[in-house]
């Protein structure tokens, strides 16, 4: 957050995505600065995931632009890049943590190979170093090193999610997209995972876009918050501000629908 004066890392301008007549998301604009965590909340079908896919290079938008501050050339439209450049960016400077770990992991190779894959993709050819980096990252996400050679299919949901995070962070990305990183996990595992993500993000200064329907997650993780409904952003601001003093009727409804424990 202290990097406000610097250039934005990610700049999204008037982004729209339609599926035929269906609106996925419409006229979304935001900027994300280095080290900042942006939460995107909204009910199912509000366009959160469409937005995330568009800004993370997985789904070309119907209109608008997504610009990323590349290390060499500065701000560049990611959809104007050539495909090799974009794919290179996606496996070095970016990470994507999927809701379902099966989408983000290779289920038929061991945990160590899953973490090492990105390193090998960018040219690492020394087995000992790759394995060292993999163990290092498994430790950072609090996984038992004795399971480095086990298949992800034998892991619990929380472990798979942590493995996915390790796999994404191993190349030292500056921006990580997370799509519902904690849904489908029980609350105690959720709490540990959130704690882990928060620690890593703070320590490494990674910028994050976190899409979730869980307001508890954004309160813990994100600095700023965007509330989406029907494909549009209805309210955005600092997380505490939006959650404690919601202005838009929909946000008020959303905040008041949290079940008290």
């Amino acid at each position: 957050m202290n990097a406000r004066a610097a250039n934005p890392l990610l700049e999204v301008k008037d982004l729209s995505r339609r599926y035929g007549n269906q609106v996925g998301c419409e006229d979304v604009s935001f900027e994300l600065y280095p080290g900042e965590v942006l939460g995107v909340v909204g009910e199912s079908g509000s366009g959160k995931t469409t937005l995330l896919k568009c800004v993370s290079g997985l789904l070309p938008p119907s209109a608008g632009a997504v610009r990323f501050d590349t290390r060499i050339d500065g701000l560049r439209d990611i959809y104007a890049m050539s495909e090799p450049e974009r794919r290179m960016l996606m496996r070095t400077d970016w990470g994507i943590v999927f809701q379902n770990p099966r989408d983000g992991l290779r289920m038929n190779v061991s945990a160590g190979a899953n973490v090492g894959e990105r390193l090998m993709a960018v040219g690492a050819r020394h087995y000992g170093e790759i394995r060292g980096a993999a163990s290092d990252w498994l430790e950072k996400v609090e996984m038992d090193l004795g399971r480095i050679d086990h298949l992800p299919a034998t892991f619990s949901g929380g472990m798979q999610q942590r493995l996915q995070i390790a796999r994404n962070l191993v190349t030292g990305p500056r921006l990580v997209f997370m799509d519902e990183p904690t849904s489908g996990l029980d609350v105690s595992v959720q709490a540990r995972l959130l704690d882990l993500i928060r620690g890593l993000v703070r320590r490494l200064g990674i910028a994050c876009v976190v899409v979730t329907h869980d307001l508890g997650v954004v309160r813990l993780l994100s600095h700023r918050l965007m509330v989406m409904r029907g494909g549009r952003v209805v309210e955005q601001g600092l997380t505490d501000q939006v959650l404690d003093d919601p202005q838009h009727p929909y946000t008020q409804l959303l905040v008041s629908s949290i079940l008290p424990v």
Binding site: E83, P84, R87, R106, N108, V109, S110, G112, A113, G116, E117, R118, L119, M120, A121, V122, G123, R125, H126, Y127, G128, I130, R131, I148, D149
Partner: protein, 313 residues
């Protein structure tokens, strides 16, 4: 190679078939694919593979490539598992003898075209020879990436990190790279290629080979090639370099200590005979006066089983 039209005057060929079985249009199509393959070393060129009078897996791809490049003045050798006298080799050799009336041989040095399955001859090939490989699975990325659209994109963008994921797995589980055949190679520093199921022992022979190497996959409908004198590098890690198999035995028939050996079980006590896999190489050596012990190696006591049973040695 000359253009094969109908061959009056060629004795003992089947009547009613075109020279070398395939019709001329098909051969032209295959030659076009082959030329493209030679122009882009290691790149898999799709082609319209035809039904052949033998089942998929028996070398339909190799036969189609051979049929489209063979001419009347060629001499054909066919290798199956290193030998000239196994079912597959005998039948494919007979097939071309019947349909093309070409000379066939079992001697590597005399052949102008060598169609092979599982081996490269021990004797170095020359610039005036062509080796045709029969390929069951041409896509080296297939085992880890099942989507064809994705593997094509990975080849196009040279995203080959995933090949090392496979090798990583082997080292992680077994302490060394265990892939023994169809060991992936990178051709001309660009395309990663499946060398067909030859033992990795033969991989170094592909590197800068003087002969043209053609690969045909009939079921998968792909042709690829390595032009003469082209760099072929086996993939490995810096701290786990590529190595080939070695034996502490010599061939029992010709005494060779540097060729690829087959292990033949000779009785139900576990005695084994180590002999050259390349039958022509072994015979040539024997004719030149080399000889091996001729004796099987007795079974070695199975120490692993003893310690597993809990007995202290």
């Amino acid at each position: 190679m000359m253009d094969g039209t109908m061959q009056p005057g060629v004795p003992d060929t089947l009547e009613g078939y075109n020279f070398a079985y395939l019709d001329e249009q098909t051969k032209r199509m295959i030659r076009r694919a082959t030329l493209k393959a030679v122009a882009i070393p290691g790149y898999q060129v799709p082609f319209g593979s035809r039904e052949m009078p033998l089942p998929y897996g028996w070398g339909t791809g190799g036969i189609q490539v051979t049929a489209s490049i063979i001419g009347m003045d060629d001499t054909l050798k066919v290798i199956d598992q290193g030998a000239d006298d196994t079912t597959n080799a005998v039948n494919i050799r007979r097939f071309f003898a019947k349909t093309a009336g070409v000379a066939t041989t079992e001697k590597t040095a005399e052949a102008s075209i060598i169609q092979t399955r599982h081996r490269i001859p021990e004797e170095p090939l020359r610039a005036d020879q062509i080796i045709v490989y029969q390929v069951p699975i041409p896509e080296p990325l297939r085992f880890i990436e099942p989507r064809e659209t994705e593997t094509r994109k990975m080849h196009a963008l040279a995203e080959y990190g995933i090949m090392h994921v496979g090798l990583y797995e082997e080292i992680a589980h077994f302490g060394r790279i265990t892939q023994g055949y169809d060991y992936p190679v990178q051709v001309n520093d660009r395309y990663v290629m499946a060398p067909s199921p030859i033992p990795k022992f033969d991989n170094p022979k592909m590197d800068r080979m003087a002969a043209l190497q053609l690969f045909g996959a009939g079921r998968e409908k792909r042709i690829y090639a390595v032009p003469p004198h082209t760099k072929v590098k086996s993939l490995d890690f810096e701290d786990h370099p590529f190595t080939i198999e070695s034996w502490d035995k010599a061939c029992a028939l010709c005494g060779s200590d540097h060729s690829y050996l087959d292990e033949v079980i000779t009785d139900d006590q576990g005695s084994r005979l180590f002999v050259c896999s390349d039958s022509d190489y072994c015979r040539t050596r024997r004719e030149a006066g080399h000889a091996g012990s001729g004796l099987p190696v007795p079974a070695e006591p199975d120490t692993t089983r003893d310690t597993q049973a809990g007995e202290q040695p």
